[in-house]
Subunit: 499 residues, 2 copies
């Protein structure tokens, strides 16, 4: 179909621009000189405007109409129909947002991120607040353009987790909370507590860097199509043959960077293994941010914090680090890296309490966007929710409301996808256990290929053939269900904490 | 004038795209994963096409026509008239080249550069030849579109050195050769020869990196608006608040990186000190590649290889490098870093023989583009010219025709600008000596600010107010004249070599 070919050409241009934007953002976080912010803001605004022009081009609307009215439409295969559906969804969404707003948002994001970095460093929320106000205002406008009948949170969620809504999140998160709280209580009140001094040992950063290379290879992240850099906050960016991850090294805690690398390599794997056949098509992108997070957290936690993985890797770590960990035994080590303890910082949170951090953010951003709360009240509300949900006292805003970059970057309605990653990946693991009954034995030998191949076949290669709800259904034959994640935690932590 | 405002907006977009292209190219050379080449080629082709669309937009032609016919045109000031002239020149040039050709060239360049890198590494010209053939073919087409009445070399030269031509280069270079040959002969045949072991000493790369930081600050290159990375071939890229330089460290020869950093910092200074007032206008860019080179070589050679500079810096270098250079005395050191010796590699060539390397390239690329010679004959002709002009035997193509990246990157008619840099900067130095009679005394104290300020005032801030011929006239009251460069060399080297 000629019209579809024209569409494909336009979409390819859109995706190439998207990759250019990724490189500019990566450079912004990793290498840009400090005074380059305003210049970069101009560049990012230009790319955002160009992307908008490409995807909101009325000609795309015309082509879509002609394709759907074409008698040959029904003879297209499912893949082509899905691709056309995705183009239409994106076109409709983007063409609702005025170009000026796209540019304003793109220009404001790097400026707000820069202000957030300074505010966090100087422990002064007020340095960030005026820029956050602008971001919130622009984001509300965007939500209003997208769907003025919906709550702003819900108008925005489609971008991150298509098919999900704040109502569903509320249901799922209530169920999650109900399952998590008793596990947390049992862990916290157990007489058996880990000795953290086993992992908080001085380990030279040069050695940690070698370990990073080693484990990223172990999980089959391809360094010929990727690289590892250092940033304050780890992230992954890129596409197919150029997928980059970052980490942060702390001399006194190797586990921080170790798990960042595993986490980001999990994201990286997904991008590197998208179907080459669908490259430069919307159907060739990832399914959702939550599915992405399921891949990173599966590698980080379900594999990387398992007893089986460390049966293989602890001797290797000992060898690579000289004297640092030479006296350590497996079980106390496993307990230390699986400490369950309510804490202040999301990215350092354990598997069990992590989702509570997300639930707090979900509730706050929903209310912030709807106008129920203001940016003025933000630190106070943040702190009181941390007290209520996690029982911790936030002492300053840098360990409180300033800890995450997302809102500065204009990413609202994104956090819930992180918790969805936990829910999805536990469902996936249950299926892996069925399909590869010996998977734990493979892990013990450091043979991760069968599991990675399963992920490639079931998740990565299908790329964006299915929205998350449908993807989970396809893989597991079931609906999204937090039970698997709770069961996984229950089984694992009852062993570790002995309850 | 309303039309001019519209023009300025369009030009700003063009320049922002240009900066994005710079970042993509910088990343390609410094950080891109090895398998990212094809993806990057798509990105670069897209940016090239977008730039072309912006600058060859027929609306620009319309606006220009309306502006020039406007009765208010004569009331515009000189700056505005110059800016409009530059827009027209660029518009006319770019709109002659078909967009497909622009895209093809942009896509072929990274692929040819990648092939060139492999060919050079594996010492196998044939790995590069097929990709070079494509580049030459596309470049010839481009030259034909630009001006089919001119020789291809001359059609292309406008991009690098507006106002110059192959005829003028031939005249200037003949004069240059006539002056250089006797100086080279006197140096080579002098009984007084330097002891190179004074500089070829093992110096840890970590220390060399500190020296790089130190000297880049010393020459007032702003590291808050720049950075220093490592690449096989040093280069500078960027604009105003984000201007990046690269270097290459060799443990056994600190001077290699030392002079690369000074050279590139000289380029960087120019970009960082363009008039902020004309930012995002064509009049706010640099004047020409030759003027750019005059700035890099002025810092590298006229300052950085002078006896006066080292009177100040040798004690500092000794302090920073511990025992490495502690026994060295000024005069033998000055001689070692000013060795004159015909050699194979352009970027390692001394001040006196350097221009001969350029003359060889000028003659070859002129003939290659006109079809007088083929890429098949290239290595042979290269080697025979090196024998004839410099008396050296090229033993393999990696030290011969494969040494430079320029042709792989599609830069033809660019090399002569390097020799023009020498001619220009000696004329500038003669003027500096008039305007700042004590400049040598300042150098002896490491006070470079008066010289840098002179460069900022006379060269950097005027940005692109004048083409190179006019700029030299404005600054010196004279025409372009190689005599100053010859005189400078004669004076300097007669002292060093004692003739």
């Amino acid at each position: 179909m000629e019209e579809y070919k024209v569409l494909l050409k336009k979409i390819k241009e859109y995706i190439v621009l998207d990759q250019i934007e990724n490189i500019l953002n990566w450079d912004f976080e990793t290498h840009m000189p400090p005074k380059g912010v305003k210049q970069r803001a101009e560049e990012l605004a230009m790319i955002a405007a160009l992307k908008h022009d490409k995807i909101a081009d009325p000609e795309i609307g015309e082509l879509l109409k002609r394709i759907k009215n074409d008698p040959n439409y029904s003879s297209l295969n499912d893949l082509e129909k899905r691709d056309i559906y995705l183009i239409e969804r994106k076109y409709k969404m983007e063409s609702k947002i005025p170009k000026e707003l796209v540019e304003e948002l793109a220009k404001q994001k790097p400026i707000a991120i820069d202000a957030w970095k300074r505010a966090k460093k100087e422990v002064n929320y007020l340095l960030f607040k005026p820029e956050l106000d602008k971001i919130v205002e622009l984001t509300k406008k965007k939500a209003h353009h997208l769907d003025s009948d919906k709550e702003p949170f819900d108008a925005l969620v489609e971008e991150y987790e298509p098919g999900l809504s704040s109502a569903q999140y509320t249901t799922l998160f209530n169920e999650l909370k109900k399952g998590l709280i008793p596990i947390i209580q049992k862990c916290v009140s157990s007489p058996k507590q880990p000795d953290l001094s086993l992992i908080k040992r001085k380990c030279p950063i040069e050695i940690q860097k070698q370990v990073s290379q080693d484990i990223s290879k172990l999980v089959h992240y391809d360094l010929d199509r990727g690289r590892i850099d250092e940033t304050e906050h780890p992230f992954t960016t890129g596409y197919y043959d150029d997928v980059r991850i970052t980490t942060h090294y702390y001399e006194e805690d190797f586990s921080d960077s170790f798990y960042s690398v595993l986490h980001e390599a999990g994201h990286g794997l997904y991008e590197q293994n998208l179907s080459q056949e669908y490259k430069y098509q919307l159907v060739g992108e990832s399914s959702s941010y939550g599915v992405h997070e399921s891949q990173s957290r599966l590698i980080e936690n379900l594999i990387g914090r398992s007893r089986e993985f460390w049966e293989f890797y602890l001797p290797k770590l000992k060898k690579m680090t000289g004297d640092v960990f030479s006296d350590i035994e497996l079980d106390p080590f496993i307990h230390a890296i699986n400490l369950v303890k309510p804490s202040k910082i999301r990215i350092a949170a354990d598997e069990v309490t992590y989702s509570l951090h997300i639930i707090i953010r979900f509730e706050i951003e929903r209310d912030l966007l709807s106008g129920k709360i203001t940016t003025e009240q933000l630190p106070e509300i943040w702190n009181s929710k941390y007290k209520e949900y996690l029982g911790v006292n936030i002492e300053n805003d840098s360990e409180g409301v300033l800890q995450d970059t997302h809102w500065a970057g204009g990413s609202f309605s994104y956090f819930p996808s992180y918790a969805m990653g936990n829910i999805y990946n536990a469902q996936m693991l249950a299926k892996i256990a069925e399909d590869i009954p010996d998977y734990r034995e493979f892990m013990k030998k450091g043979q991760l290929k069968p599991i990675i191949d399963w992920l490639i076949e079931k998740i990565h290669t299908p790329s964006n053939l299915y929205d998350p709800i449908e993807l989970i259904r396809k893989i597991t034959g079931e609906e999204i269900n937090p039970k698997y994640f709770i069961d996984y935690l229950e089984e694992k932590y009852s062993k570790i904490y002995g309850f």
